[in-house]
């Protein structure tokens, strides 16, 4: 075994449980259940064997629909995020568990206690990918309904995270005394009531969960709009990005890291991890052949037609997957719900792009859809892929990758067995988790990621000068302040 080379930037790896979309191949005989816990156990343990930073789950709060009916061509059905995170943490020791949870259809008091619970149970291994999906389609599953205008999605997310952090901070580290003799279990002076009033939330709460090992879960973000990038610069410790090209990745990396100083943050306090798919082979040529096979499996003739229908906004019953794109333009209709842009101008522009590509590369509908949607980030032998990943990280096109295998649950096995050892040989990937040599305690997720501790520890926050429970700082905050306000009680 080699040891990490301090002169080289270290690679971070994340294992994305195969998702609910066409990238996850279900027709392969090796494809297993997407819902049995055995699949999650296998996947999480494989990632841990490979010394990954964390396992990751996406979230979708409504089954996708196509043509007004449930979309039936892709893998569908998934567990609820928080419960499965807790269970995956239970069957692993050191790896982190990070889930996608929307700030739109949750409430801060509840989500904060849920995440803190998993942080306690796992010894500090939890993270939260904050997403903002605001649309009425998903809203139809919630008491809330589809109430949030698109422009307010990050207003709510900002306020949500600020309030959640106040709750996580509200029990000081020493608040639990557990003093049997004196009969004092808790020191009420060191538990602070949180008051918050803002456009989205009006809450007064005493948190029910003591401070957890990490204080806050690691905050991940995956939005891409300018508002999303600003939100990330202010709040996120990790960005899960779509920018997988090398040059594009470098540009995104510079853009986001460039926003950090304005937020008073250090460049090393945020990691950028693009999603990446891969196809491995003994040789590069063999890998290319496998990549082609995977792409075709990801793009059945029916999937290709449905994808074109989603852009055209209507059913295209006569469309031949081995033929050409429709001659007519996309219309106003909405064929795929909750996924594709509903703006007809966007879709007309997209159709023009697709026609141009099909013509230039002489592609059938199915070949075109495969080229557009079933492209693999890394294709090659283990040595080729290890070298590519290393190049991205040394070149600041990313800090590592969120790997998205195409098979459940075994899609990561080969990567762990064959690529991870080569990254270790290069001195750019850990050879063990930072387990405490004395106590055997697992590292927190933040420690594994090499991220700094959260900036506002409880003691500084609540006891600047006035001593325990001093609320003097709060009195100057106007009751009707439009900005979020959290004060100790």
């Amino acid at each position: 075994m080699t040891t990490p080379d301090p002169a080289r930037r270290q690679v971070h790896l994340v294992a994305h449980f195969p998702g609910v979309n066409s990238a996850t191949v279900w027709s392969d005989p090796a494809s297993g259940s997407q819902i049995d816990f055995a699949s999650f156990r296998h996947f999480a343990r494989t990632a841990e064997r490979g010394l990954f930073d964390y396992v990751f789950l996406a979230e979708g709060l409504r089954l996708r629909e196509h043509g007004g009916r449930i979309h039936d061509l892709d893998v569908a059905g998934r567990p609820a995020t928080l419960a499965i995170l807790a269970a995956m943490a239970s069957v692993t020791r050191n790896i982190g568990v990070v889930g996608t949870l929307t700030s739109t259809f949750n409430e801060p008091t509840e989500l904060a206690r849920q995440l803190a619970t998993i942080d306690h149970l796992s010894g500090g291994r939890v993270g939260w990918n904050v997403v903002t999906s605001p649309d009425a389609f998903h809203g139809a599953n919630f008491r809330r309904g589809g109430f949030l205008p698109y422009a307010e999605r990050y207003t709510r997310a900002e306020e949500f995270v600020a309030l959640a952090k106040a709750l996580w901070d509200s029990w000081e580290a020493g608040a639990i005394l557990a003093d049997r003799e004196a009969g004092r279990f808790v020191d009420p002076e060191r538990v602070h009531r949180v008051r918050h009033r803002g456009p989205q939330f009006d809450v007064a709460a005493t948190s029910t969960v003591p401070r957890s090992p990490q204080g806050y879960p690691v905050i991940v973000q995956a939005g891409d709009s300018p508002a999303g990038r600003d939100f990330a610069a202010a709040n996120a410790e990790i960005i899960f990005s779509r920018h997988t090209g090398y040059a594009d990745g470098q540009q995104f990396y510079r853009d986001v890291k460039g926003r950090l100083p304005a937020a008073g943050r250090d460049e090393d306090s945020l990691l950028i991890l693009p999603g990446a798919s891969f196809a491995l082979g003994d040789t590069d040529a063999e890998a290319r052949e496998r990549a082609r096979e995977i792409s075709l499996a990801q793009t059945s003739p029916q999937t290709a037609v449905a994808w074109v229908e989603a852009i055209w906004g209507r059913a295209l019953p006569g469309l031949d997957p081995d033929g050409r794109l429709p001659d007519a333009e996309p219309g106003e209709g909405e064929q795929r719900q909750g996924q594709v842009s509903t703006r007809v101008e966007d879709r007309i522009a997209r159709a023009a792009e697709l026609r141009a590509r099909a013509e230039a590369e002489r592609l059938t509908v199915r070949e075109l859809v495969a080229a557009e949607t079933a492209h693999h980030t890394f294709v090659g032998s283990p040595a080729t892929i290890a070298a590519e990943i290393d190049r991205y990280v040394q070149g600041r096109a990313s800090d590592g990758f969120v790997l998205v295998p195409h098979l459940t649950p075994g899609g990561l096995d080969e990567f762990v067995d064959r690529v991870v050892p080569l990254l270790q040989e290069r001195g750019v990937f850990r050879t063990e988790y930072a387990v405490d040599p004395v106590t055997g305690a697992n590292p927190t997720l933040r420690r594994t990621l090499g991220l700094p501790e959260p900036q506002r520890p409880d003691s500084a926050r609540y006891r600047p000068e006035g001593g325990p429970g001093d609320a003097s700082a709060a009195e100057s905050v106007p009751e009707d302040a439009a900005v979020p306000e959290e004060v100790p009680a």
């Binding site: 409430e107 139809a140 049997r180 969960v209 003591p210």
Partner: protein, 436 residues
């Protein structure tokens, strides 16, 4: 082999479960030798408890939960009751604790408390389904409402319920309580529909037609009441049990009615002289059982596909320890707490044989099981597992141990749940609305 002598009206076997709460049900339990007050928020603490219960073959463990601190009692109008330093404050989320425990246990049923009042029905239903997947069919739900002002303020989404605690305790009608119970009924109905929204064989993986799903077997539930609406279907495929056993604790005919409408199992609190027992104060087992059966007759359970309610009696248990009688221990803890212990359930302190006598009497009055609340943890849980359960088994009151893992429904004697949509289709009616 001991025969199971007790079979309720429905012919189900009796059950013996435990209710886990903080450091135990006595407010000073955390100060006992052997308690682990500094470990209450660790996985190891809960793992240690569940291992005792699982290895002994107890049927299930319920995990208590609430959205506000323990100082904020039900119906309390004060939205900031403060923290009391002398009791265990703080708790972990019960459903997530159960999710953590599920892969690390083999047989025991796991029944977290999840409130319906401030939560999203869709999240509640799908999280419970996930627990059922993770536990391979050992999950249940203890449904509760949050009637305190502190919980309402902590969410800030709806005004504090206007509950008159005196009325509720007296068993008088209360509009505020009715509103919360009505909402709970809606949430339970939504959950049940979501749990059925994927039929068992919805996943077909048909390569020839390119279809992963048979979408005729995945259903919008279109639940709508004046309180909220949920369109569905669930994002979670049908779980091993399909319908999880729904349980709830009831002290009054009004809540019996909710149980009769939506639950599979009701926990009752007989023979308890304490005012904390509310409307059930002082009532003998047979009287409460009769009240529950009356509530059942008023609800159309069969029409909803529900079996007769399983009635389970709650009992706080303190067992003699070598060198110290349980009654002495209770006195000692009361001294530490500064007040005599009173609970909403009757307290039974004594030898395993005496406690078994009481349970035996109760079984004769028509209950289907007991839920034991250990006075102090882990002490009384260990004593229940090692000394009380064997006595119950010897007397044929509890089922013998060593059975293979079973779905929790089966433990409660509930037949496997038919899927309402599949049933409707079999009846020749394909429309989702008809099934709903």
């Amino acid at each position: 082999m001991a025969d199971i002598i007790r079979a309720g009206d429905s012919g189900s076997p009796i059950t013996v479960g435990v209710a886990l709460e903080g450091g135990g049900w006595h407010p000073a339990a955390w100060r006992e030798d052997g308690a682990g007050p500094e470990t209450l928020f660790t996985a190891a603490y809960w793992q240690g408890l569940i291992d005792i219960a699982d290895e002994a073959g107890l049927d299930y463990a319920t995990l208590e939960d609430a959205l506000s601190t323990r100082s904020a009692g039900f119906g309390a109008p004060d939205d900031d009751p403060g923290l009391r330093p002398e009791i265990v404050e703080g708790r972990l989320d019960a459903l997530l604790t159960a999710s953590w425990l599920a892969p690390r246990t083999t047989r025991i049923g796991l029944i977290p408390t999840v409130t319906t009042t401030h939560t999203e029905p869709f999240h509640v239903a799908t999280a419970l389904q996930t627990l059922d997947h993770v536990s391979e069919g050992r999950a249940g739900w203890q449904l509760r409402i949050s009637g305190d002002a502190a919980s309402a303020r902590a969410f800030g989404r709806r005004p504090a319920p206007e509950i008159d605690l005196a009325d509720v305790l007296a068993g008088e009608p209360d509009a505020g309580l009715d509103a919360l119970l009505g909402d709970a009924a809606d949430v339970a109905e939504t959950a049940r529909r979501l749990w059925d929204s994927w039929e068992e064989d919805a996943i077909i993986r048909d390569v020839a037609t390119g279809r992963f799903l048979d979408r005729d077997r995945v259903h919008h539930i279109r639940f709508a009441s004046e309180r909220f609406s949920v369109i569905g279907p669930s994002i979670v495929p049908r779980s091993p049990q399909g319908q999880l056993p729904v349980t709830l604790l009831s002290h009054s005919p009004r809540v019996h009615a909710l149980a009769a409408e939506t639950a599979d199992v009701v926990f009752i609190t007989p023979e308890n002289p304490s005012p904390r027992a509310g409307a059930s104060r002082g009532k003998p087992v047979a009287e409460i059982v009769a009240e529950v059966r009356a509530a059942e007759r008023a609800a159309d359970r069969a029409g909803r596909g529900l079996a007769p309610l399983r009635i389970v009696a709650d009992l706080v248990v303190a067992l003699d320890a070598p060198g110290e009688a349980a009654t002495d221990r209770l006195d000692r803890l009361d001294d530490l707490a500064g007040t005599p212990f009173a609970s909403d359930a009757r307290v039974a302190a004594g030898s395993p044989e005496r406690v078994a006598d009481l349970i035996g009497d109760w079984l004769g009055a028509g209950i289907d099981g007991v839920r034991l609340r250990p006075l102090a943890l882990p002490h009384d849980l260990t004593a229940i597992a090692e000394r009380l359960l064997p006595v119950l088994r010897d007397r044929g009151l509890a089922a013998p141990g060593g059975a293979d893992p079973r779905p929790l429904r089966e433990v409660f004697g509930l037949a496997s749940a038919p899927n309402r949509y599949a049933v409707a289709r079999a009846a020749g009616d394909a429309s989702e609305e008809a099934a709903a």
